[in-house]
Amino acid sequence: MLNHAIKYEWLNLLRDRWVMILLILFLGITVFAVRNGKEKVEDRMATITKEKEKMVKLDRKMAADIDSLNKNLKPAPEAWKDPRALDNIGWNAPRVVAMDAQPLAVISTGQSDLFTHYAKPKIYGEAYTLGFSELSNPVQLLFGSFDLAFVCIYLLPLLVLGFSYNVLSSEKESGVLRLTLAQPISLYQWLFGKLLLRFFILTSIVVASILFSLTIFDIDWLGNRGAATKLILLVTVYIFFWFLISFLINLLGNSSGSNAVTLIAVWVVFVLLIPSIISQTANSFYPVPSRTIMIHEYREAKALAEKKADEILKTYYREHPEYAPKDTTQQNQYSWWLGNFAASDVINQSVQPVLDDYNEALNKQQSWVNRLRFLSPAILLQDGLNDLAGTSPAHYTDFRDQVIAFADTWRHYFIPRMFNNEKMQAEDFGSLPTHSYSSAQVPSHYPADLMGLLFFLTLTVAGSVWVYRRNSFENVLSV
């Protein structure tokens, strides 16, 4: 029976011009969204590549210069330009610490338009601790990004609702339902079959559109089948959730107009209202201290420490006897830096509370949002997609930690050598610390997001059963 009903429902849909137009439109929108995502990722990767190339070129030049200087083929430059001086390498030839795009980065812009994707930590300075926000296009911030995540979260439910809001009511209004119900069938099975078919059609088209768009923009989803499957699974569950909402509303037996209004209201609540309430309350409950004040305090502490550099250095030597000069007759060429290194510990200690406040507020905001995301399937999907795209807040926090850790590695490569008054050699370029990005240690939200969406599914099923039990046949038919 179900097969039969599905066959003719399919025929009916095929001949409905609007349905076809809607679906073609969706394909177009998906292609456009993936193109936008691709453009952003390409920009991001191009910048990183450019920086890395610059770095390699500079390394090569410096190694060659050191070689020439050692062979006395060139006159020695001023000390501040000498490539043999470690401070010049540590300061002028920093490594590029880059956050490479994940294979499916195109699907969701996430936080990628708020943060930088590379940093060049030097042997000294605050840049890597503070400078993580990039200015972004205010117009884009206003409207959000037109990426695949936007299409799935905002537009897809509207498509589902447009496709299903009147599945029962239109038959009732046109009068066909009376003939249908005079046949030996169960209304609910029949209605569910109709919606199931529409769900399959729409999901197939959505999945095909997504995979088609990814393919034409050269995204290797076949090579990343795991992530692609997760993406499809998440979107499918989200579509199914909206179909079930529509099933539930249809079961109430109201008119098409009233179904449409009710469903749009549900959409507004889940997709617009709850997310904006969560974001508003996050800001009100856990306001983040001003970043300007934080930077100001940092600089004040730094200025103070720099004034007392000599004194601090003496204390530092007491605490790190291994760095104390062995040969006191010879002046260390890096003496200016050594004072600063010593001072940086003091600065860090005094700024730590300010930094902690700032980070704690951010963390609290984030964990508030993380907990409340279970209130809306739209947030869950956004979170899951960001997770797959590697553009979630957790990814950026992790990248920031990686940069800070690498900055430390970089400094600690140079500090002992500088205290020892060593020089840079051409072959040392090969042994400079390097960073390679990995997102493996970012805790994945995906399983929880999927479970959350499944929980919403269960709720809707329970709601449908409740309405079904409560509702009488007469209500649905309104004879």
Binding site: N12, V176, R178, A182, P184, F473
Partner: protein, 232 residues
């Protein structure tokens, strides 16, 4: 084949159908006459299990329509005043679809035969329903009765709004079906058709069946007089 046993329906305290009993046997065409709101459609809706009876039973083939809705619906075909079908499907496809819902499957030629037998001209078979007139749609309903091999026909003012020729054709089809043994319950305002086509007549007023007679007991004029007597 069709039996109402003290069947009644009350809507929010208002009795739409007072306890009513009647029987429609195989081959009978039982015409329900009465003003709007007399309870004709309520009676038919009760047999269709579209509404729940407040009292009594509606039986089709001896089975209670409330307890065995699927079984009883296998036996019946329903043609409302304005039979609506899927406008994007052809007459043939609609017939195939609704027959299939009743688990009736035939080769295409059989379905075409049913449509022809129901009086639908061959060139209309493959045209979409959106191009059909009301009379043509009613014929698809009759074809459905043939395809379902229905033993019971429930008709709710099926000829209202049809032109006299179409109305006449429809009546002929009913007679044909009745000869095959189909039991028909038809609500109608058309006294002439009721007398011509029907075998039995029931008159309803304010939810009660006030008169039951067979059509051979009465002529046209007397039928009209009797009807007006009950209505006033």
């Amino acid at each position: 084949m069709l039996e109402a046993k003290q069947l009644s329906k009350t809507y929010q305290g208002k009795e739409a159908l007072k306890p009513t009993s009647f029987t429609v046997n195989k081959g009978d065409i039982f015409c329900l006459l009465g003003a709007n709101g007399a309870g004709k459609t309520t009676t038919i809706n009760l047999f269709l299990n579209f509404i729940q009876p407040s009292g009594g039973q509606a039986l089709i083939g001896g089975k209670d329509v409330v307890k065995e809705p699927i079984e009883t619906k296998k036996l019946l075909t329903y043609i409302p005043e304005n039979l609506m079908l899927y406008p994007n499907l052809t007459g043939l496809e609609n017939l195939e679809y609704f027959s299939g819902l009743a688990s009736k499957k035939y080769p295409k030629e059989e379905f075409l035969k049913f449509l022809t037998e129901a009086g639908l001209q061959a060139e209309a078979h493959d045209k979409r329903i959106s191009t059909y007139s009301k009379g043509m749609r009613q014929k698809v309903g009759i074809a459905l009765a043939l395809a379902k091999d229905a033993q019971v026909l429930l008709l709710d003012e099926p000829t209202s709004g049809l032109d006299p020729k179409a109305s006449n054709e429809f009546s002929e089809l009913l007679t044909k079906l009745s000869k095959k043994g189909v039991a028909t319950l038809m609500a109608t305002h058309d006294l002439f058709r009721a007398k011509e086509t029907g075998t039995h007549i029931g008159m309803m007023r304010e939810g009660s069946l006030v008169e039951q007679l067979t059509t051979d007991q009465i002529n046209h004029t007397d039928l009209e007089k009797l009807y007006l007597k009950h209505m006033n």
